[in-house]
Symmetry: C2
Subunit: 332 residues, 2 copies
């Protein structure tokens, strides 16, 4: 049988509660007592029973992490880091896949969960600002990512997309490219990443040509491949660089370019965004904006832990970096 608190208490010659205090790092335990208790814990191999602790505390020790799809590399790598960090917060992470559908996201916020959750970290796609506003305020919520509007009504962790878009575009300009296309899912072309792109052009004294800010109409590589392909096929001159709002779009763009005989990066340099892990196995490997996922995870969990019902939403920013690879500087 697994040792319990009482067993340790008996072995150490103290009360159950004192052992509990030691385990939970409470103050007001004499050093000598603590040592005796720790020795007993060690000797018996005691580990606390989480179910009992949660029952007594009225919490579950479980938080939910909701992403559109776990098998999308961006979310997988984010989830991986979230997992690492949650461990040090003492949380078990329950994963959910929403498919980006509003009803699935909403269900998580409103539904009574079989296991009461201590909080939710969600990367929303379908959720509206009202949905977030009308949620149960007793269930801590932290939002990730870039779904405009929602972030005003709950704690939010992200990176400075505008600045990142600017840095990515500046990299292209520094390589001497002057005819830089932007590719985003759109049609909402007010995306912050694209605004950063505009900032960079403006700062370089160039005028933004809104005709080469293309909306792909979707997030998949194929969407970018089709959009850019049609654009090229209709006789437009090829750009000498492409800034894509996500890595998938960048990869799709590279397909469209290469299939038409253009060389990347010699003819067209391409920058992506997200740094999804593909193990440097694509050709060419992708220059991209890499969000600091460890920081995102840590900030999100801290915010979740420290959230109090009724307090004002916090907006937190994690750092990012530009990772330069073959798609802008070439091979070798």
């Amino acid at each position: 049988m697994r040792p319990r608190l009482t067993d340790v208490a008996e072995a150490a010659g103290v009360s159950m509660k004192t052992v509990s205090n030691v385990v939970n790092g409470a103050e007001h335990v004499r050093e000598e007592t603590r040592q005796r208790v720790l020795a007993a814990i060690d000797k018996l191999g005691y580990r606390p029973n989480i179910a009992a602790r949660n029952l007594a505390q009225g919490r579950s020790g479980v938080i939910a992490l909701a992403v559109p799809q776990l098998d999308r590399p961006y979310f997988a790598s984010l989830a991986a880091r979230m997992l690492d960090e949650a461990e040090s917060f003492g949380w078990i992470v329950q994963f959910h896949q929403t498919g980006g559908r509003r009803e699935a996201e909403l269900a998580l916020l409103t539904e009574r969960h079989p296991a009461r959750l201590d909080g939710i970290v969600m990367s929303p796609l379908g959720l509206t600002a009202e949905d977030v506003q009308n949620r149960d305020p007793s269930l801590p919520l932290v939002l990730l990512g870039e779904k405009a509007g929602t972030e005003h009504h709950a704690d939010h962790v992200g990176i400075d997309n505008r600045e990142a878009g600017k840095v990515a575009t500046e990299h292209l300009l520094e390589l001497g490219r002057r005819h830089v296309m932007a590719l985003a899912p759109g049609p909402r072309m007010d995306d912050e990443r694209i605004n950063g792109y505009r900032d960079a052009l403006a700062a370089a004294g160039l005028q933004t040509d809104e005709d080469i800010v293309l909306a792909t109409g979707g997030l998949r590589g194929q969407d970018a491949e089709r959009t850019l392909g049609e654009w090229l096929d209709s006789g437009h001159p090829a750009p000498d660089a492409v800034f894509a709002a996500t890595d998938w779009l960048a990869m799709g763009a590279i397909r469209a370019l290469v299939l038409r005989g253009l060389r990347v990066p010699q003819d067209v340099a391409v920058v992506g965004f997200d740094d999804i892990p593909y193990d440097l196995a694509t050709l060419p490997t992708l220059t991209t904006v890499a969000p600091d996922r460890v920081a995102i995870a840590r900030l999100a969990l801290q915010a979740l832990r420290d959230q109090r019902p009724g307090s004002d939403p916090k907006r937190l920013q994690a750092p990012f970096s530009l990772v330069v690879r073959e798609s802008t500087t070439g091979i070798g």
Copy 2:
């Protein structure tokens, strides 16, 4: 306050235990009583408290899923399906990343977990057969994947790698290729996937040339790129097809080929293995063996649930299919 079992009992005019029986679908409850209880549950919006149930039952409702890295697309997509299936089994899935390190994998099996686990599903890399054999038999364990040896001492779910390797190679042979190279992490060249490759060659009346069964020495794309690159650079004639034991190796191989002016698939057709999700954004998209991940997840969880200490290890096989894409049949 959240309604409890007693609240429902009071509302329905029965005992707490009867409500419990209804909730848990027990027999011996009169239909009329059941209806009354269900109405009360519905009216109060009752949901069971998992922490309390687990405490009373001595289980935790949590299983662990351990994979080397969650941000590797293969494991991410497997984890995604595992999550879907676990829901219908009433399990919360606790994810773990082992990095493929034996000590991390072993720790999961031997360590006392803060939350007692109801079972572990693990994709082992470092674990030895002895480690598996000497584990705590009271903790149900199901192994996934292809770490030879371990599967004899615990329930195991996989696909028929040999048959799959054969099917993949046959596809290359059917395209008229005759000089088919095999690429595997090695140096253990008894890999079942490669044996399937040998089977296919033998069935076609071709002799296996063990000189073109190359060991990459690692799982990453770079490993395959370097291995194949060096082989080509040292003057060997290029094969007209490559069967790679994983998609990453296939992608690395494609890099090595294309960077040397060979066209895929015109000069060299390439088949991978695993069907990791890259959204059809690579160029060319990869022909590959796609394991049925839903089946794998379901079989694994069923096995976990039905496992009894001391019973003989079961070996379960999930189906697979060959997905034909550009890397063998070309573009368009």
